[in-house]
């Protein structure tokens, strides 16, 4: 059973078209990145999947149940882009509240595990109002993981995190994949997505304009060789050409220090895709 299946999904806010027929399938354990410009429809897609927004047309199912139904909401965890927890609750109390609402019976064990997972063990009894934005985002991720969801929807989960925090979230996401939890992550930090996602979906004006593994979307941009005479670039060469190139240079008496294949980044691919559109 797919974790998320979206077919011909449309959403209109009056005259504004947020989604214009999106198709998307996420398998269990798959980590999918969602990228696009502001207003491309990323957050709307996520909100429809978790039942916060009603689609104008099309269907969305979560673990086989219609998005927004109680059965669907039992199977997912969600971290909104703009969220807030009551400032008067402590981190442990936030999780306890969501455990009760999610029907989780794992009690303190689950809370302690999740707080440790996001690096907030020492802040379990700290009130939310006394936490930094980064700490609140970590708490938001812990909250989304309550009740062992089958699908995790993360809308800009690392926007307030420092580099160490982002590294922790990357490790966390990779760990979730091994547990069979599907993740749909929306982020403008394309480097982060490139490093962890199995697949990336690019949205523009409410449509999927490109999708595939990061390596499929990015392209080789030649070979770069650092020599004793400086850095030489061979823009039309591929990985397979490296032995011959090195051999020729060595035979010409050039000292070689480093050879690397130049690939375009996901950011390059994303910008190229948008320009084509």
């Amino acid at each position: 059973m797919t974790a998320l299946e979206v077919r011909l999904l449309e959403k209109r806010y009056g005259a504004v078209v947020a989604l214009a027929g999106v198709d998307l399938t996420i398998a269990p354990g798959e980590l999918v990145g969602l990228i696009g410009a502001n207003g491309a429809g990323k957050s709307t897609l996520m909100k429809i999947a978790c039942g916060l927004v009603r689609p104008s047309a099309g269907t969305a199912t979560v673990c086989g149940a219609p998005a927004g139904s109680r059965a669907a909401r039992r199977g997912l965890g969600y971290l909104a882009e703009l969220f807030r927890f009551p400032g008067w609750l402590t981190a442990a109390e936030v999780l306890a509240l969501h455990q009760r609402l999610a029907g989780s019976t794992r009690g303190r064990t689950e809370r302690d595990e999740l707080l440790e997972l996001v690096g907030l063990s020492d802040a379990a009894h700290r009130r939310v109002e006394g936490m930094s934005k980064g700490m609140q985002q970590r708490l938001g991720i812990a909250q989304a993981l309550i009740g062992d969801p089958k699908l995790l929807l993360l809308d800009e989960p690392t926007s307030a995190l420092d580099p160490a925090g982002r590294r922790d979230v990357r490790a966390l996401l990779l760990g979730l994949r091994t547990r069979g939890i599907a993740v749909l992550i929306n982020s403008h930090l394309l480097g982060e997505l490139e490093r962890v996602c199995d697949r990336v979906v690019i949205l523009a004006d409410g449509c999927v304009v490109a999708a595939g593994a990061p390596k499929e979307l990015t392209q080789t941009g030649g070979v770069e060789i650092q020599t004793g005479n400086g850095t030489w670039r061979f823009p039309h060469a591929a990985r397979a050409d490296i032995p011959q190139l090195v051999s020729e240079l060595v035979s010409d008496g050039v000292d070689i220090y480093e050879v690397s294949v130049i690939r375009s980044t996901l950011e390059d691919a994303y910008l190229e895709t948008l320009e084509r559109e």
């Binding site: 927004v53 909401r73 703009l82 969220f83 008067w88 509240l97």
Partner: protein, 288 residues
Amino acid sequence: MSATLIVARHAMQETVRRRVFVVVLVLTLLFLALFTVASAKAFAAQTPFGFGNEGQITPGDIASITTVTLLGLGMFGSLFLATVLGVFLTLGAVRGDAERGLLQPLVVRPLGRRQFLLGRFVAAAAVCIVYGTLLYAAVLVIVHQAGGQWPGHVVGPGAALIAAVIILVALSLLGSVFLSSTANGIAMFMLYGAGLVAGLLASIGAAIGAHTVQTIAHDIAIALPFEGFYQAGLYGLASSQAGLARIIINLGPFGAPQAVGVTFYFWAAVYLALAAVAATVGFERRDL
């Protein structure tokens, strides 16, 4: 624990943690202290007066008029304070909390939006029922200590006061589905003011025999049943009075010229149900 009770408990916990009760307690004690002084002074200052040669009001009548007027004032104060509490507990329950990002993490959990609304209503209504009852009881005791009299009916007016507050809480929760916190707060207090004006219009209309004014006041009371309950409470407080004393009470700001009938209670129940349906449907259809 059901989702409704979880939400209600969460909302109640918020009122405790954010020291709402402390603020309410302090200000209520201030109100009661002022009311105690006013009651004592009113009974001490009462003097017999007459209406030309037609009749003299007896000291007993004056004590009754003072008692009922003070109780009416106490009921007005109780309703106002309980309304302030109820409105502020609910005015941002849906749209306000959604705009602040507090609502979304809760409603994606497997609880129905209907249950969420019911939980918020239960919490606010419970707080207001307890508060309104205690305040009303305190008013009765203060007036009795000052003047030595109890009203003709005790339970009925208290129940009417609570019913009025419950309707106001329901309206505030309904408003929170469609309006931002500020707009809802303004709307609620304007409705509250409109209701009170309607009550005063009814008294004036009855005193001068203006049926059109009475009809307008009656129609407003139907549209805003909390005012009907308030009038029913005032009527109950003065129900043991008769003759000239009753006329004088009805001419004052806390007089209620007529009782409400069974039809009104039925209408109030329907009104509450309609508010619940409108709030639920509106919330279910709202994109967050």
